[in-house]
Symmetry: C2
Subunit: 112 residues, 2 copies
DNA sequence: TCTCCATATGTAGCGTCGCAAGGTATTGTG
DNA sequence: CACAATACCTTGCGACGCTACATATGGAGA
């Protein structure tokens, strides 16, 4: 699928994944892929900067761990992040409803 | 709502509106607003360049009209545009299903 | 008549942000 | 010793929606 479709929705997805529990970057990518049926499969160059952005914004926080000699950075939601996730969900509901309505308005043949 | 959410979906919406019948730019904006319950309310600086892009891509075509002394440019779908709209619908279905699944995965409290 | 708004179209430049590409380091395997 | 998998990071590009501005006509109101 065209990648730019994500624009503006990435933050919501990252927050939603972290709501299920703390994850490090690599694991976040895994969760997105499995949770979406392989539809959402993001490169590290997309996810890591996005996580940094969210941390800078105070929506998530991180702790460094060392597991088997490898350094990991585990992210978890902050209170502000939980709030933001709620807003994102509301925005997504409204946006997706609007787009679905407009796209289905013509002949909607697929639903048959 | 945040505007960048549209990224990548604008073309689909424009094609869908034009599927209902030929429209000029101003009317396209109107149709999007009314068809989405005022959620999708786009500035002309967004819509006109997008229509030009779609025409350059061969997905829509235009005819100049003069109605009441005012020049209008009426756009209509081409065969390629109809095909593209179908693909856009499929992509949207997959994308929105994936995002909805991921966003609802945690606690989904709103649906009660 | 003059002004102002709605209609109707257009462009230039900016900012955002996802992505491709490249880079570092460790553990384990052959 | 080489190579893959794990795990992290950054630079720079490109796409594209938006703000702001510019232009022109018709009709309503002062």
């Amino acid at each position: 699928m065209r990648p730019e479709l994500l624009k503006g929705h990435l933050d919501a997805l990252l927050l939603a994944v972290l709501e299920e529990g703390p994850r490090h970057g690599y694991a976040v990518i895994e969760s997105l892929r499995t949770g979406s049926g392989a539809t959402i499969d993001l490169p590290t160059g997309t996810v890591y900067p996005a996580l940094h952005r969210l941390e800078r914004a105070g929506l998530i926080a991180s702790d460094w761990q060392t597991v088997g000699g490898r350094r990991r950075r585990a992210y978890h939601l902050t209170a502000a992040g939980i709030r933001a996730l709620g807003e994102h969900r509301a925005v997504w509901d409204e946006f997706s409803a609007a787009v679905t309505a407009l796209l289905g308005g013509g002949t909607r043949p697929s639903t048959a």
